[in-house]
């Protein structure tokens, strides 16, 4: 089915076209959203919103880019908006907890590593990776996720992000450098923490 046929089918609310749209793009969108949000339930909800948006704004699709690019652009924008909203929510809840003066006096820095082994386990490694990717600037994060997780070509990423090919290369290079720097710091800190923990345990 060509992009034109697909778009006209969506506008006419054709049952077969809608089924084709969902079976072709829905899971891809869920996966992309998951790479941004790191939560499958949120990713599924977001993918539903993306599909509804496609249905509602298909009439406005100008055809300047491919349908695939347009759908991914909607998914990326929605994911970034979701993260922004979540950050604001987190900030407010943090402020609330400060004003309420809850008993939770523990901060992430004070938490001792649960494992004594100098090797970080998979879950923690994943947490560190997700945290590091989330700390990247939005455009670097988007380029990195689309390239490394979605295996997209630079040209496709450039179309989705509406930037030049050179910009994508630059963004990816910067993202990798930032990621490397941050991961080195994380893993080094983590192994130092673990060693200190071992030492204190030995002294006791």
């Amino acid at each position: 089915m060509t992009d034109k046929e697909l778009i006209s089918g969506i506008i006419n609310r054709d049952h077969t076209t809608i089924q084709y749209l969902v079976s072709t793009y829905h899971k891809k969108v869920i996966k992309t959203a998951y790479y941004f949000l790191h939560d499958m339930n949120d990713a599924e909800d977001l993918a539903q919103d993306v599909c509804i948006e496609i249905l509602e704004s298909a009439a406005h699709f100008k055809g300047n880019s491919s349908l695939n690019t347009w759908i991914y652009r909607i998914a990326v924008n929605k994911s970034l908006n979701f993260i922004r909203k979540n950050k604001r929510k987190q900030l407010f809840s943090q402020l609330e907890s400060i004003f309420r003066k809850t008993d939770e006096t523990t901060s992430l820095e004070n938490i001792e590593p649960a494992i004594v082994d100098t090797q970080v386990d998979d879950a923690e490694r994943r947490m560190i990776l997700e945290k590091t990717i989330s700390s990247l600037p939005e455009n670097q994060r988007t380029a990195f996720i689309l390239s490394k997780y979605d295996d997209m070509a630079y040209k496709e990423i450039a179309e989705i992000m509406n930037v030049s090919l050179a910009s994508v290369e630059q963004l990816l290079h910067r993202a990798k450098m930032n990621l490397q720097k941050k991961l080195v710091v994380h893993f080094s800190e983590y192994s130092i923490k673990n060693k200190n923990h071992e030492l204190r345990k030995f002294q006791k």
């Binding site: 539903q48 450098m177 490397q180 991961l183």
Partner: protein
Amino acid sequence: MNCASFRSSILAYTEQDFHSYSVRDFEFHSHECAACAHLLSEFRLTQEIIGKDKSIEPNPFADTRMIQRLENLRERESVWIYLFSLPRFRPLYLSFGLVLAMLLGVFLGLEEGVLPAVNSHNNTDIDLIRTELNVPDMMGDDAILFANE
């Protein structure tokens, strides 16, 4: 190769984006330095996580749920479209629209009509007081008379 340059080129090494002479230096350092070797293994394991995440599969019923939701949306839309497009209901919508427009006109007319009514009431009060006190009306014919004099 020292630890700093090793740490700044871990990703390039793991992604095989390295010259062969640099690879030799890199590997030599990782054999020599335990901390850097540990870091390298952590990087490799972290990259494996990306590989695992790539193969993650969403809920198999996600598509069915999505289709169902879109179908519901389509049905809801089509009910409204059907109702609005029925020829036998068109006069009803038209008359409803006309009644609404008339009501709006009456409402706006009332809004504007309130002020003059209050003003005229005030004017009669003023006229009454003026006649009682024998004060000439400067705004009416008297004003012209006074002007001529």
